[in-house]
């Protein structure tokens, strides 16, 4: 009904060229070059660096850490989302600000926080020494730091859905005699399913890509505490560019495509 999209005009063409040119300049072009560099010597050259033991170990470590972070943030994120979305808490403002913190704070500062808790001069050093537990420079520390940086996503995606659907269906289920466990899995989970999946996807991407926090907490030990992102950094420092490109392509495109696919399905379900 309106003139939208009908007449482009000189002004429209100029604006489109500037905007797409800018995106090409800072994003599209660099992405293409990255893909080209990863595959310019063929599939074999691309795969070879991914098969060396250090790279395999790094990728394995990234998978373990990512699965743990997603697991923890889903398991505890759901109750928290329920508390915010279904009950009136006076603490809502405080909880919201706390949830914003991991996104606002530098990953290096996040790593430092965990170092100050569990590290050599950390607050809990005494207790940890007594129990003979090592957290920093080990897998547990890396998981803790990753949980911190990827914490808000599940909660943030699930809360709006919970608020929107309300209690009605659960109330009916209870009236009809369903127990709370059954109600949860048969009524609540299907309602929040896509919000939950999207939140878990964002958590996965964030956890897979985390660099700064993990670098501080892990001590960056080659073949031991190096994750995929730390491995890329190491490869660059060693001028082993093919390794860096192969590994970057692998984790970059895996996380991009899962987000893209889930986002597409999610927006279609919503509308």
């Amino acid at each position: 009904m309106l003139s939208k999209n009908k007449k482009l005009g000189v002004r429209g063409v100029v604006l489109i060229i500037i905007a797409t040119g800018w995106i090409c300049f800072i994003l599209f072009f660099p992405l293409l070059v990255l893909v080209w560099e990863a595959f310019k010597h063929g599939i074999h050259a691309f795969l070879l660096p991914l098969l060396n033991p250090e790279a395999k170990h790094a990728i394995k470590l990234t998978i373990i850490i990512t699965l743990s972070a997603v697991g923890i943030n889903t398991l505890f994120g759901l109750p928290l989302a329920f508390l915010i979305g279904r009950y009136r808490t006076r603490m809502r403002a405080l909880i919201d600000s706390l949830l914003n913190l991991p996104l606002a704070v530098s990953p290096v500062v996040a790593g430092l926080m965990f170092l100050l808790l569990f590290g050599r001069e950390g607050i809990f050093r005494g207790i940890l020494d007594k129990g003979g537990i090592e957290i920093v420079f080990r897998l547990p520390g890396m998981i803790l730091a990753t949980v911190f940086v990827s914490l808000p996503f599940v909660v943030r995606e699930v809360v709006p859905v919970l608020e929107e659907v309300g209690w009605k269906q659960e109330e009916s289920a209870w009236t009809l005699g369903a127990g709370w466990l059954r109600t949860f899995f048969r009524v609540t989970v299907p309602q929040i399913r896509w919000g939950l999946i999207y939140g878990m996807t964002l958590t996965t991407a964030r956890a897979m890509g985390e660099f700064g926090a993990v670098m501080v907490v892990s001590g960056n030990i080659i073949g031991k505490t190096q994750t995929a992102t730390l491995h890329i950094n190491q490869a660059l420092a060693d001028f082993d560019y093919q390794s860096a490109y192969s590994c970057s392509f692998l984790i970059g495109f895996v996380s991009f495509f899962i987000i893209l696919i889930v986002q597409k399905i999610y927006t279609r379900k919503k509308s």
Partner: protein
């Protein structure tokens, strides 16, 4: 009768606060407690380190520049994506999310590859006058990396506002004899400004803390390319925890202040918008006339 009015179950409350307490409150307290423990005079002493001051100043200046560029280009991109149809539009729209989806180290590597000394464009610039423009391991590299990493913020906060904005308001303004500039500044821009600022604030906080892409692109050269987060990392590596804590507290303070300010700002905008006389009422009238 309504279950909503029931008291919050104790287990839910306990699990939620244990979760938040262990993963967010405790680490935050650790930073503050350790800061107090090392003594205010030692913390202040750290601010005499010229490297720290340089890193903080560089970070603030570059973050401000990034925020400015982002507000301009981000609004333009959002406008083009909402108002025009052109081939490749869907690709551009999907690309906007890429910087959030891929690891920052990969973003850094992308910039390094294209604009670095052996990169496609780096070669070109390097050829100019035989001297070369130093993108990588220099400040322009940091700027580029931060621009890519923070690209989605402004676009994604302005886009939804533009989608609901009614183009007939602009037509009405033009029919009533407003010039293009007047239409732009009096009709199009005002409702978009709050979301531009919100997006800008998010880019600013993100730029203050960014580490991965910057360290890949610009390395760790004190007094030259060492930004705040890289300085903190270098202090942790060399065992100067007091210096690391001092600058971390400053960064944390900035983040909290900006987030707090925007919480207030958002509430203020919500209130004034709901009271303003021309936002919704006029649209309804126009709709009827059309």
């Amino acid at each position: 009768m309504r279950i909503t009015k029931q008291k919050t179950p104790f287990t839910l409350l306990t699990i939620s606060w244990l979760y938040l307490g262990f993963f967010i409150v405790l680490p935050l307290l650790a930073l503050i407690v350790k800061g107090v423990e090392s003594g205010p005079e030692n913390l202040l002493e750290s601010f005499h380190d010229p490297h720290l001051l340089f890193a903080l100043r560089l970070t603030l200046i570059i973050s401000l520049i990034v925020t400015g560029i982002n507000i301009l280009t981000g609004t333009l991109v959002a406008w083009v994506l909402v108002r025009y149809d052109f081939p490749g539009k869907n690709i551009i729209d999907a690309l906007i999310d890429v910087p959030f989806a891929i690891p920052t180290v990969v973003t850094g590597l992308m910039i390094l590859t294209v604009y670095g000394p052996h990169g496609v464009v780096g070669d070109f610039f390097g050829g100019i006058g035989g001297r070369g423009i130093e993108v990588i391991f220099g400040k322009p590299g940091i700027l580029l990396a931060l621009l890519v990493v923070t690209l989605p913020f402004v676009v994604r906060s302005v886009q939804p506002v533009l989608i609901v904005q009614n183009p007939s308001l602009e037509e009405a303004a033009e029919t009533l004899g407003a010039s293009r500039l007047q239409t732009f500044f009096r009709v199009i821009l005002p409702p978009v400004i709050p979301s531009m600022l919100t997006g800008g604030a998010l880019s600013f906080t993100r730029s203050l803390g960014e580490f991965g892409s910057v360290v890949v692109v610009a390395g760790n050269i004190p007094m030259k390319t060492q930004v705040a987060s890289v300085y903190i990392y270098a202090q942790i590596e060399s065992g100067n925890m007091t210096g690391a804590i001092a600058l971390s507290l400053v960064l944390l303070g900035f983040a909290v202040a900006i987030l707090g300010f925007f919480k207030l700002f958002e509430n203020f905008v919500k209130k004034t918008m709901s009271r303003s006389k021309y936002s919704e009422g006029s649209e309804v009238i126009l709709e009827k006339k059309c």
